[in-house]
């Protein structure tokens, strides 16, 4: 089904190796910022992969996916604040809460399709955002500091940054594996069938609503995991974690990397977040070339470049980075 050596597979393997070697680089060079950045990238990649499961394969464009990041994060934060530090409690609660929210939102929003679905998922995420702002006891708008990372009874220690990075990395691999298995299962075929022609799938006897709902909940749970990891990474959780622009970022990652491919969103997450770090420097270099000196404050305006870039990607680079890699082997079926 999949030919082993294609340019794309080579890139995937290279990226995974790169991700695996980030802590080694940090240890050798003493540059721990890179590891912190890549921990963030790996965590958000989990979220983007989960979004891609429903968006790329299921055709359900959710504009409220960051809500699960927030729910997972707040589950950890609130339990920590109430003195329950055990990860064996915090993490299952985070996953269960995300799953329940996904069940509710999915049950309501899957009754509609298309642009309604986009707006409704956005609206429900906004609702959770305002609920978090209203939580006076848990910091409200200012957020909640987590003084103790999730405890796993001495089995392992999340405050060890290298260990935490590898934990996130393993979780990403696990997520990728699950999504890959799901997509290639009967369940995944039914989801993709419903995405391309819902009526026909129902006519041949698939209860597509239930299939889609289960898929929606699975994606929510995965993203809840990312939220729990993110809260542990930053030792902090605030409503900003689920601001609606974050949901937009996740969509950008999935589309930038290549929607409807299992690994694409990881590429997208790396590309977007590295771009965010690199663009200010690029602006400095360009202003150096154009004006002969660095223009004061110009680097702050990197979003001025990112925004039109998104527009251009939509217009001219459909299929994202993954699509570009695939272009050399156009005749092959999508793996």
């Amino acid at each position: 089904m999949i030919r082993a050596v294609t340019p794309r597979n080579a890139v995937v393997v290279a990226l995974l190796l790169l991700l695996a070697l980030v802590p080694v680089y940090s240890a050798l060079s003493g540059n721990y910022f890179v590891m912190s950045l890549f921990t963030r990238i790996v965590i958000l990649a989990i979220a983007a992969v989960s979004l891609n499961l429903i968006m790329g394969f299921g055709g359900m464009v959710s504009f409220g996916h960051a809500a699960y990041l927030g729910i997972g994060g707040y589950a950890v934060g609130i339990l920590a604040k109430e003195g329950i530090n055990s990860g064996f409690v915090q993490w299952p609660v985070a996953l269960a809460a995300s799953g329940l929210f996904a069940l509710g939102v999915g049950a309501l929003s899957l009754r509609t399709r298309g642009v309604y679905f986009i707006m409704i998922t956005l609206a429900f995420a906004q609702m959770i955002y305002y609920v978090a702002i209203g939580l006076d006891r848990y910091g409200g708008d200012d957020g909640l500091t987590i003084y103790k990372r999730s405890q796993f009874g001495g089995w392992f220690d999340l405050s060890n940054k290298t260990f935490f990075y590898y934990l996130c990395f393993v979780m990403l691999l696990l997520t990728l594996y699950i999504v890959w298995r799901l997509v290639h299962s009967r369940f995944g075929m039914a989801i993709q069938g419903a995405s391309s022609n819902d009526r026909r799938m129902r006519a041949i006897g698939f209860p597509t609503f239930r299939y889609k709902l289960v898929c929606f909940v699975i994606a929510g749970v995965m993203c809840g995991l990312a939220g729990a990891l993110l809260a542990n990474h930053t030792d902090f959780v605030s409503p900003a974690i689920m601001h609606w622009t974050r949901s937009g970022d996740l969509i950008v990652m999935a589309v930038l990397g290549g929607m409807g491919t299992v690994f694409g969103p990881v590429i997208g997450a790396i590309a977007l977040l590295v771009l965010e770090e690199v663009l200010p420097f690029v602006i400095d270099v360009v202003s150096q070339l154009l004006a002969g000196h660095e223009i004061q404050g110009a680097r702050e305006y990197w979003q001025l470049i990112l925004g039109p870039m998104l527009l251009l990607i939509v217009l001219f680079a459909r299929g994202g980075i993954d699509g570009l890699l695939m272009r050399s082997k156009r005749s092959e079926s999508r793996g």
Partner: protein, 305 residues
Amino acid sequence: MLYFIEQCLNGIQLGMLLFLLAAGLTLIFGIMDLVNLAHGSLYMIGAYFAATFAAWTGSFVAGAALALVAAMICGMVLELIAIRPLYGRSHLDHVLATFGLLLFFNELVRLIWGPAGMTLPLPSEMLSAVQVLPGVYYPVFRLVIIAATLVVALLLYVLVMRTRIGMLIRAGASNREMVGALGVNIKLLYTLVFGLGAALAGFAGLMQAPILTVQIGMGENILILAFVVIIIGGIGSIRGAFVAAMIVGLIDTLGRAFIPDMVRSYVSYSAASSLGPSLSSMLIYMLMAAVLVVRPEGLFPAASK
């Protein structure tokens, strides 16, 4: 009771504002089948233009008029450059592209006007309060907002239902290929409709500017509220947008005004201080969920879709 009437008027005023945004959004969606996240940016730009032009001309009315024209021109230029290639693409493409535009506009405004917000001072005659009912005083400017928006709504109705342009707009909404085939310059029509939507959004922004601070990102939260309005009212229906905007405006305002007190009489003070605001901000989303359960297409679904 007096407080209740005052809050009702506030709710109507919020509803009017939401209607201006939602009407533009629903018009653009209904006719061009375009999801426009950058609509909130036009609202923001309208407010910034109004503040700038008012300071420049020294008159609120002149500033507002200039800002309205400027917002409309901005919208039409935006349509020509960035929106036009998006027609016929998937909704996901629209979301992504207009999300990019929104980031761009936020940054552009920061570049031009600086990160600090602006204020738009009102002329003195609008600062006073009038007695609307015995014992109920209400700021003149908020009444002006309500009246002006009603006039705009009426004009919009006349434009869409009683003029040739409106007839073309309605025809374009139900079958754009046919309208194009009949020799109507559909591209020009789209640009006009987008400009009209931009003007409505800009008008909402400039009317709101004296009440709130003019700041970056001011259009985003209200844009999502406008989405809720459209979902409740039914996409593509201006009448639905009007009714839903009133409902959402009233429920949201009254909820925020009264629910925290109501909650306080049932649970302890500390619990209520969290629960009250959370509950009142959830109210309209619960309403949206309820509407979805009963009528997934909204209260007034557009007939053609």
